[in-house]
């Protein structure tokens, strides 16, 4: 996953970033934040605090009004179109509004993220099958996503974000529509990708998923960072997780 050995250790670096929506909605003010490679960061705060805006800035779905954003060593203010396209292929984004194509099947929706990287069809099929299995959606493989419940759609959006084995995973309210059991399924999957080297930024107002965690929790209030969880002592791999026991083959593409 992380094939750029000589690159900086920071995955994300924001310096005094502000975002103002027209006419004058101050969604983010002077946000500075660094995320190391391999870290998991929870981004919390009330609705309207600016969590989604921050995530969108990280893939340049929007441009900051002020400030510098670096992702994986690229300055997003200066990045070329082609470089941005390549960067985006290494970012998995589970959007808050899912952005699923309703008339396409679950498998087709997940495949989109891999197709743009020209992944071999056989590899795509394997990964889709494994992800659906882990998310409890196996029997929905060929169902159009318009025929799914919100919770199921949410998991498909998550599966699509993970399918391309991204270096950076951005999840916007990934458990908003899930029961606690499914939430744990998703979190286990996230931890596993993190163990394989992926960096995660998870925006959520669901306290249950970060309570008692050793990971950094950053709280936004009205576009400002108000509380920083303790800087993670080391970017060590998290404690072994029982959920990982049966999932070792997730990354093997076979």
């Amino acid at each position: 996953m992380s094939e750029h050995q000589e690159e900086p250790k920071l995955m994300i670096d924001l310096v005094k970033v502000s975002k103002t929506y027209l006419p004058d909605i101050q969604a983010l003010s002077d946000v500075s934040l660094s995320v190391r490679k391999g870290e998991i960061v929870f981004l919390t705060g009330k609705s309207g605090a600016g969590k989604s805006t921050l995530l969108r800035l990280l893939t340049r779905m929007e441009k900051p009004t002020k400030g510098v954003i670096e992702v994986s060593g690229h300055d997003l203010n200066l990045i070329s179109t082609v470089k941005l396209q390549i960067l985006r292929r290494s970012i998995g984004f589970a959007f808050q509004d899912f952005k699923l194509l309703p008339e396409r099947t679950v498998a087709e929706n997940i495949a989109i993220a891999m197709e743009v990287s020209y992944t071999r069809p056989s590899v795509m099929q394997t990964r889709i099958r494994k992800l659906l299995q882990r998310l409890g959606l196996v029997e929905k493989h060929n169902t159009p996503t318009s025929g799914l419940s919100r919770g199921e759609q949410q998991r498909v959006a998550i599966a699509r974000a993970l399918a391309n084995n991204p270096e950076l995973i951005l999840a916007d309210e990934p458990t908003g529509n899930l029961d606690s059991e499914t939430t744990e399924m998703v979190m286990a999957l996230f931890r596993q990708y993190n163990q394989q080297g992926a960096t995660l930024v998870i925006a959520t107002h669901d306290t249950s998923i970060y309570q008692g965690t050793s990971h950094r929790v950053i709280e936004l209030r009205e576009g400002r960072i108000v509380a920083r969880g303790d800087e993670e002592p080391e970017a060590e791999a998290p404690a072994p997780d029982p959920a990982l026991a049966f999932a070792d083959d997730l990354f093997s593409d076979e």
Binding site: T59, M61, T81, V82, L84, Q85, I86, L87, R88, R89, S90, I91, F93, F95, K99, L101, I112, A113, E115, V116, S117, Y118, T119, R120, P121, R160, N164
Partner: protein
């Protein structure tokens, strides 16, 4: 390898998803190609026939006596005064006799007793073979008749004149239908592509978010346009070929059409028409995609 696979998959998806407007576009392209090619075929065949008639396109001015060199110069000036011409030849009595003898060939003995100057001298005027001069050939002839010493003016039969105005009309029609072809194909294709783009806004947006390359997004639409152009124009040409053969079978036996030999386009011309249509459609889709996606 995988790029092409992905792009072809995407193209097929486009085609399936919007097959109704695709079909409409295809028919429009086929029809415009048919119309254009029909008139163009008529035009080329008419031109072919016209070339055989070219020799009828001269005015022969018979004179009552052999003009002296000074007179010849004066005739020349007066003829040029009406219109610039391609060539003016003076045919003396002697020349006329020889030419006649040549035409008679083996029967030339019958001329043996004839005086060598029994044919009148003449001036042969070759107007420019432009359609404009042809329209005033009658006036030209009338003018020549007013020159001193002119006995009679002869020129190509009237139907030649009519025929040439027919060609002239055809040329206009060809140009018009050609323009129509260009406009309809590019417009229709650009429009279908635009509809496709609109109908798939969300998907294109998503593709961009997951990092699809510009070509990944654009090439399928380019292919779609080219495919439409190619299939549409091929259909048009096939339709024309069938129509051509039907007309030939139906009318060629009895009517005056039997006088002429009609031929279909040679293969290179067919190839060029299809190629140009394909290119036009590809350009149409390309520019439409460019505008819409702001690539």
């Amino acid at each position: 390898m995988n790029f092409f696979l992905a792009v072809i998959k995407q193209t097929l998806r486009n085609l399936v998803q919007t097959w109704k407007s695709q079909l409409l576009t295809l028919m429009t392209i086929a029809l415009s190609v048919l119309i254009f090619a029909f008139f163009y075929l008529l035009y080329t065949n008419a031109l072919h026939t016209a070339r055989q008639l070219d020799d009828d396109l001269r005015l022969i001015v018979y004179l009552d006596e052999e003009p002296s060199p000074a007179m010849q110069e004066e005739y020349r000036n007066k003829i040029q005064k009406f219109d610039r011409v391609e060539r003016i030849d003076f045919i003396s009595r002697h020349d006329a006799f020889n030419r006649f003898a040549e035409q008679l060939d083996e029967d030339r003995e019958i001329l043996a007793d004839m005086p060598k100057d029994f044919l009148p001298p003449s001036i042969e005027v070759y107007p420019f073979r432009s359609l404009v001069t042809l329209t005033k050939i009658k006036r030209f002839s009338d003018y020549l008749l007013t020159l001193p010493g002119v006995l009679k003016v002869q020129y190509g039969r009237e139907w030649v004149e009519r025929f040439y105005s027919f060609i002239k009309l055809l040329r206009i029609v060809v140009i018009l239908s050609g323009t129509l072809l260009i406009l309809t194909t590019t417009f229709m294709v650009a429009n279908t592509i635009r509809l496709t783009l609109l109908g798939r806004k969300d998907e294109l947006e998503l593709l961009r978010l997951v990092g699809a390359s510009t070509n990944y997004i654009r090439v399928p639409f380019f292919l779609e346009g080219a495919l439409q152009g190619m299939t549409g124009s091929a259909c048009g040409m096939i339709a024309l070929f069938l129509l051509f053969n039907w007309i030939k079978l139906r009318f060629a036996v009895s009517s005056i059409l039997a006088m002429f030999e009609f031929t279909f386009f040679p293969l290179p011309v067919i190839a060029i028409i299809i190629l140009v249509s394909t290119l036009l459609c590809a350009i149409g889709s390309f520019s439409s995609t460019r505008k819409f996606l702001q690539l």
